[in-house]
Chain length 375, copies 2
């Protein structure tokens, strides 16, 4: 076993997740143990600069150039802090896997616009500050072989969650929702994964708009509102929800713009709208996973959305017969899952082993992901 750190900074902009793990083996023999985990929220100024970089209107090349380095410094700081908290010396750290901050994702090519994805957070800066080799930029290679560059966690999920007698549906609810289907006694090639649609993104935007809150803590606002069935139907008719997998989405589809349009048309109570948006997330997840429910099936919810009790209970009510759990119910840290996955992917890359799951991303073949910046 060696020590490694996985770094994740998701579209929900909650902050930087750093997971210190002990890891050994490769491919099916990979063994990972979480040693320490922490999330470092962005300060308000950095958060604003990230929001600007995500925005078609406010972003420009200078902002992206600068933010790439700024985030490298922040990611490095997260590594130092997680190691410090665990009292593990940097000298004992074998490598770091860094996802970077996604600033844009174009899953499908269109007129003169290439299918592409852009994660920033300079690996050279992380490498220098931590005196450790960094593997980064995982998604680009999957897209180079025809994949959508997302979802990125299925390989790690297969390694960590595969179970002989139970179909496991791993539902992550970050800004965007994504699911990984691990059929019972399935192999890597049987796995399916795709983005289900919105995660917390609409809910969070609404909480910010109406209550100046970053998110709906425990689903309190939603629990006090009533779902508007007409609006819910309209939302469920969104082309992305109707689309067959493999498919990926992002804040481009369900972010600020989408919520602004929603707000323009809404004249009812704020809490009713939040309840409706929460049910939209719940129902879009339920509809997306139903085709994969066969026999004993567990839906295991992770990500920030797993702490939204109203959302989880809505999902339960939409999925009778499925054992709906949250990550903590089975002894995993929901917060740490994606960061751990980055350490698993980095380990694969350094062993020259594949890290994408073609049945999940649509890629033509399995490839090692990412680039290595050596210390």
């Amino acid at each position: 076993m060696v020590y490694a750190v996985g770094l994740m900074s998701g579209t929900s902009l909650d902050g930087i997740d750093a997971a210190l793990v002990e890891i050994s083996g490769k491919n099916e023999t990979t063994a990972v143990k979480l040693v320490q985990f922490l999330t470092i929220p962005f300060n308000e100024a950095t958060l604003q600069r990230i929001r600007d970089a995500l925005s078609l209107e406010k972003s420009d090349v200078e902002k992206i150039c600068s933010l790439n380095i700024e985030l490298g410094e922040k990611f490095a700081q997260a590594v130092l802090e997680v190691c410090n908290k665990a009292e593990v010396s940097l000298d004992d750290l074998a490598f770091i896997g860094s996802h970077g901050q996604t600033v844009f994702h174009i899953p499908y090519a269109r007129d003169h616009v290439y299918a592409s994805t852009l994660q920033i957070g300079a690996p050279a800066v992380i490498c220098e500050r931590t005196k450790t080799t960094v593997v980064s930029n995982f998604r680009e290679r999957d897209m180079a072989v025809g994949g959508q560059g997302a979802p990125i966690v299925p390989y790690s999920e297969y390694v960590l969650y595969q179970k002989p007698e139970t179909t496991r549906l791993l539902q992550n609810i970050g800004g965007i929702g994504n699911v990984t289907v691990i059929p019972k006694s399935g192999t890597l090639t049987d796995m399916i994964a795709f983005d289900t649609g919105p995660g917390n993104v609409i809910i969070n935007e609404l909480c910010l708009h109406f209550f100046d809150q970053e998110y709906d803590k425990d689903g309190m606002y939603a629990s006090q509102g009533n779902v508007d069935q007409l609006l819910l139907e309209e939302l469920m008719a969104h082309p992305y929800i109707k689309k067959a997998y493999p498919k990926t989405t992002g804040r481009e589809d369900f972010g600020k713009q989408f919520t602004a349009t929603l707000l323009e048309k809404w004249s009812g109570s704020p809490k009713d709208l939040i309840a409706t948006a929460t049910m939209f997330t719940a129902k879009s997840i339920a509809e997306a996973v139903k085709p994969f429910v066969h026999g004993e099936t567990e839906l295991i919810i992770g990500g920030g959305g797993s702490y939204n009790k109203t959302l989880v209970s809505m999902i339960k009510s939409e999925l009778a017969g499925v054992n709906v759990l949250i990550q903590e119910d089975i002894g995993f840290s929901s917060d740490a899952k994606e960061a751990i996955a980055m350490a698993v992917l980095a380990n694969q890359t350094l062993e020259n082993c594949p890290g994408n799951v073609p049945s999940a991303t649509g890629a033509k073949r399995s490839v090692p992901l990412g680039s290595v910046t050596y210390y």
Copy 2:
């Protein structure tokens, strides 16, 4: 000896330079031989998208995200073509060093803007299309150790040009001008390198504006105009020209904006203005290199500017006693120099050897540059 390809796409946007070399050794024992070289101009649509990405006004995160992949495809194409022209199989290609297209460079930090640099051209795409390991993103690591990330060619220049009895001043004239000073019998740590100021950038902008020409072929327009001494004096008072090295500049300082301001104030003949801009480049180079002229000294001019006869003759007249040559005079290909340097840097990285020259970039220490994307 193994085959390798170096890829360069400079700020002058002339196209993609691809140099196929045979290379062996590392550090001082590096031996490089140019096998084949070609430049592939960008098509008009791609060129426009690069120009948009370089522009503070027109750039946005989506354009940069897409262009990163588009340029990866173009760079890969250049590798395929140079190997094909040389009848070297991709199977025999050991690695590729890719500089990428610089879309922004911020040499000095200021209020909430980090010193940073951004090169794009997805290495994962180059890697997949060429079935070859790619080393890329060379400048970021130098900046991570306090350097300016530029100039990037001195290490390669030291290996290729060092001479016991002669001080050699290697002056590259691309969009921007940069010089590398290799003192006679000097070691790597004696080297100095910095950007001298404008290269062809102002001249090219003026040719485009007045004559719808991309550049001043052979310096013809300049040769037919007269230098406006008053304007020249004003130009030479530019703070960058007065500044002491280490220093780096870019199109941000001497590009479109700078030329537009120049044009606003100008009411004389177009050719006089081009002659004055040409003399500005010549004089800013001469003034910059004069402190390094000791005993037998050669100024060896490379880059597109070396083909501008008026510019070269102006430099000669400003530097009496210095042997002013162009790369071809000493048997090197001027066009290929920077692309060859990328193969040399990639070789250093793969050998885990340094590639920056701290006395040139201002970095605190020597480090291997770049990230490795393995095939």
